[in-house]
Amino acid sequence: MTSLRGKISIAGIGNTKRWDAPGRNAFDQLQEAAYLALEDCGLSMGDVDGLYCALSGSGLPILNVAERLGIAEQLRHADGTMVGGSSFLFHLRSAISALATGQCSVALVCYGSNQRSAGGKLASMPDPQPFEAPYAPRYPISSYSLVAARHMHEFGTRREDLANVALAARQWAQLNPAAFIRDQLSLQDVLAARMISDPISAADCCLVTDGGGALVLTRTEQARDLAKPLVPVLGTGIGITHRQISRMPSLVETGAKRSGAAALAEAGVTPEQIDHVMLYDAFTICTLLFLEDLGFCAKGDGGAFVSSGAIAPGGSLPVNTNGGGLSCNHPGMYGLFTLIESVEQLRGEAGERQINGVELALAHANGGVFSSQATAILGTAATL
């Protein structure tokens, strides 16, 4: 089997940073981000022959997006896999295969949402769960609450540990002028927040924003000739465990264990070598579990690790440096933004929040209710 390590690179990124944009629909956000990503690397819409997208409000995303972008008839490969917020890292893996085998040459991965301005609630596609719905869990919050409650039971994790995830995210957001919420936040504020589904309160939940993001991928030899510093994809992995939370094999271990191991193995690196980490923080408990399952701390130690200050600015492991889904943005499905921030850090474009000397970055995304996991390891030209 051919190694795909470093064969494909992220050539361009686009981010609308329009987190509250009434009057724009999801496609407007997506199209602006796609334009910005192509402009970022010096390509144009006419070059795109691979399309990858998922949308909360569209069952036929590829058709809708291809038509609107005006690229329908030039497409040679497309994938609208929908596994929730991690879809875009699944798309990344699909695009890598298509690019590496010559099924396309310029891949566009893109997303847009107007979920904040369209009503402020998480837009979800019809996907009935007849064996859970009769018990009226708050979807998706109660599913994450059941995981947090079990983690507390098995490992003694405290609400303060979860709160420290939210505080670290806010401290990073204060260094990011594009973050949606940058107000001061204290431990008392978080612990006093309105309880929604024990032990998860409003302060443990991600933002509800609008937004659009996009990536342009090419084979690495082509990316070398494009406008921006090379960001090769060194490894990827996926892990699916369930759809309904009641079918999660263990409530304290996610598919990130499998997706992370696969991505790290392909990249040929260990967690200790990673300089920068993005973890999809839909809820504070997500960050704890992913730190454990990706190997940044031992199983059960996530709470103590976070409460030691490790992931906050100045800590030993920079995590969610844009402010994360908790404080930067969360337009329904956030996975693509973990890759965008990783690329900015690897290129040295992150301004006040820039981490010195980032050579290896890990981006991890979650979908459904801890149901689908996907991990990518990105590097600089020096890591090839």
Binding site: P130, F131, E132, P134, Y135, A136, P137, R138, S142, S145, L146, V147, A149, R150, H153, R194, M195, I196, S197, D198, P199, I200, Q244, I245, S246, R247, L251
Partner: protein, 134 residues
């Protein structure tokens, strides 16, 4: 039944689907889970094949009803707080349910519970603490 197509359909999958069968038994007062006649694997919710060995049409049989609370949350609602739990059945499978006949703050992980079918129009399987039983 697939009678008009009996020559072309596989008869092992004839009749109502497993979810419909499960629902009609629940409406008659029986809580069923699936057991594979081939590898003895227990599973829930009911589906067309065994998720362990792949055998067709695992059997729907009455659950013992004995279970343990695996995790639990209290949903804070304007209409009142209520419990949502995942219970682990003694046979092995887990399911979402609600623990009743106890204050929401009294539900603890590890607590022994037993199944009960409640609700007239649309019956559902809930669980009650073992010690609260007469």
């Amino acid at each position: 039944m697939c009678s008009s197509r009996s020559q072309v359909c596989d008869e092992r999958f004839d009749g109502p689907g497993p979810e419909a069968q499960w629902q009609s038994h629940l409406e008659k007062g029986t809580f069923l889970i699936q057991n594979c006649h081939h590898c003895s694997h227990w599973q829930f919710p009911p589906v067309a094949c065994c998720q362990h060995c792949g055998a067709a049409t695992p059997e729907l049989i009455p659950a013992s009803g004995k279970a343990t609370v695996y995790s639990s949350t209290t949903v804070r609602s304007r209409k009142g707080d209520y419990n949502v739990a995942i219970v682990e059945l003694d046979e092995g499978p887990r399911m979402m349910s609600r623990i009743e006949d106890i204050e929401v703050d009294g539900v603890k992980i590890g607590m022994a519970v037993r199944a009960s079918i409640r609700g007239n129009e649309t019956p559902i399987v809930v669980f009650t603490p073992e010690e609260a039983r007469p």
